[in-house]
Symmetry: C3
Subunit: 311 residues, 3 copies
């Protein structure tokens, strides 16, 4: 990697960010904490105490920090310190710009694409992926070995990782008089809005009659199951191994930790946080944090824990 | 879609079902509740209260309902009301017949099939699927990107969704004196009976020496793990993200909710219901409902909940 | 299968193992307990009581047992009894040698391999698998429909089952001022050491900046999710549906039961056992057994259970 100067990263900063100290330094690598060297770019978690000490111990010459740092001449003498609101965010933008290898967009010749699929000019479709009668907008990346069934509409700049299955029939059966299960037909679809990301081996089922909808900017991790007719509000996060039951609605800016299970037909509000392994059997109002099995408001969870410890 | 008359759906009704009111109406679409229009077919959940009110508010001209509806002249004046035992079941049969696009059966040229595999005349095998030395009966559909290992026997009219892996080696190891894990060989197989359905990205392991058996009519959702030598009784339901440990036996007509984990070597009876997220560490007798982590009979679960709320 | 004599299995025994009784018998099959016949090889679980009775009831002529068996002339008169330390281990070695069909190593012509990938002479790569700019050592088997991204290093004699996705971008985002999630770049890799096994439809993410590391001899089951920068110590076991959060460290010889969820940034010691469905939210010291949701030391779990039963 070539040397990158402080000057080159200034276009990625906000107007009220500050660049202090010696701006003649450069960096040419980013590393996990234990491997940082004199040519690395470093950053400091705002929660860390003793930021000055951390800076004095870091070999890096360019360090991104938030404004809680008490600046003194010592710190900036032979370093460049960049003060920003969210150091990790600034760091990730710099790494994205200078270090991440961009994928070369192509539709792999082995991808099988329905003759009536509409795929925008600038998309990437990996090997051995199947695309049904779908609509896919520009900038979208679908990796290898995916299965995108008919009636799936995918927005711009979406990323779908390998092994994801989207738009398959959901799971709905009625027992007949003989006790056998007859399948509820699935003739609906899936709508995935712009900037959504979907992890590897994740399954998102189509609506039975209507649509399963993943709103703008939602990020879904690996091995997640999203049932028929679910709606996930914009900019929400669904972490690995989570299951969302049929027709459940998840609000916007909501955070589902790993291994959450949410029953069908529920409403989870916006700005909600659900803890790891929670089993959600009730509606959750906006702005609440719930956890536990069965899930309950976090303050009730803590109160119960306290009572149990006194038994 | 063309117009479908009341007359056309009569062959799908039972002998004691009743067709009331104006039978000259037709429908040409099915919709989620919020989008029903004058040319939709509608149905009413038997649990709904105020069925007359629902009917008066529905734009649909043909509505399927159970016999709890109190009929009056007003209701049937300008509508056709069809009285059946299970409205959802009747509705799904009609939609299956008239609206579901039937798959065009073919063995995709990219499917890789073991030269000794026996595949019945009328099967569908999707692109990029691998079929080992197996036997597959007629009417069975295997979607794209599946991996069906040797020694798997699949019955009639089975559906296996994309990304499923069936018949791979199970997970069994012995630690040797050096602490390393040596693998128990898996030379058994998998038997999947008629009318089974298996969801996307689900894994079903082969028996170690004997067989893993999925009996007739079992429905398995996405992202389910079924270990070596498990037996699942006929017409049982296994919902997403569930794990069944090695050699465990599940009875017939049993219902496993999402994210259930069942330890190995257990016996779960028939007509059992296991609640969402339950962690099953004991045998469960026939006809019981269990839930919780660890799972317990539902009445004990409720009693415990009540006691905890009084602490 | 041909007949295998007692003499042929002696090279698989330890020096202090004993072969008693009539050594002229042979076997030509291995079976689950209910199907054992006169030409089967049988073994006895050391935990079984009444081993003599079991032997008298078994049709098998060659039986492997541990030294807790009280030998008498009756037992060995018309049988061969082999006394070893770990009967299941001896049995599996014999079955592996004589009964398991060895895979014919080849790189399938449909596998897509990055031109800069380094693949050792003697590897197997299944159909429709994608291999990025990786290094793969000899004896390694990668089944069909896998996706191995760039920057993955795989040791010797590794087995990766169908549908596994290794080395994809992990799940890390920062919210910007507008509430949208920006992705933390993933430019690290994955290191998989010798003799590791990875189950079907399992996902292992690459490190963000550094590496995700799976040490020697680790066995990972199906549908497991391992996040960015996780380290798993040698000879540990991770059973189906388990999730390990980002940067968490798992010690060596540790056992994770099915459906365990472990939060990010934690340290789980060596020789630890974690019970089925446990939700781990704290560090766990070496040599401890934890279970529950949230997970706690097993003795606390039992004490809590006892107290709850007395409420």
């Amino acid at each position: 990697m070539r040397n990158i100067s402080v000057e080159e990263i200034i276009p990625l900063l906000d107007l009220d960010d500050k660049v202090l100290g010696n701006t003649s330094h450069f960096f040419n690598n980013v590393q996990p904490a234990e491997s940082i060297n004199e040519e690395s770019l470093d950053w400091i978690n705002p929660k860390k105490k003793n930021k000055s000490e951390y800076i004095n111990n870091s070999k890096a010459k360019i360090i991104i920090c938030d404004s809680s740092l008490e600046i003194n001449e010592e710190l900036t003498k032979n370093r460049c310190i960049i003060i920003v609101e969210n150091p990790k965010l600034t760091f990730l933008r710099i790494v994205n710009k200078f270090f991440e290898e961009k994928i070369k967009f192509q539709i792999h010749p082995s991808a099988i694409i329905h003759p009536e699929a509409k795929i925008a000019e600038n998309c990437h479709i990996g090997p051995y992926t199947y695309i049904g009668k779908c609509e896919i907008s520009e900038g979208t990346i679908i990796q290898a070995n995916c299965y995108i069934n008919d009636s799936v509409t995918i927005g711009k700049n979406v990323i779908i990782q390998a092994g994801a299955v989207i738009g398959n029939d959901g799971f709905g059966y009625q027992r007949n008089k003989e006790g056998a299960l007859e399948k509820f037909p699935h003739i609906g679809g899936v709508i995935i809005k712009d900037n959504v990301e979907i992890g590897s081996n994740t399954s998102i089922d189509r609506g039975a009659l209507g649509y399963t909808v993943i709103e703008e900017g939602v990020k879904i991790d690996n091995l997640v199951h999203i049932s028929h007719n679910v709606k996930v509000g914009k900019h929400s996060v669904i972490i690995a191994n989570t299951v969302i039951g049929g027709s459940t609605i998840i609000g916007e800016y909501t955070w589902l930790s790993p291994s959450v299970s949410i029953l069908d037909q529920l409403i989870v509000g916006k700005n909600v946080i659900i803890g790891v392994g929670a089993v959600v059997t009730k509606n959750i109002p906006d702005n609440e944090t719930w956890t536990g099995s069965p899930a309950m408001p976090f303050k009730d969870f803590l109160a119960l824990k306290r009572k149990l410890s006194k038994l």
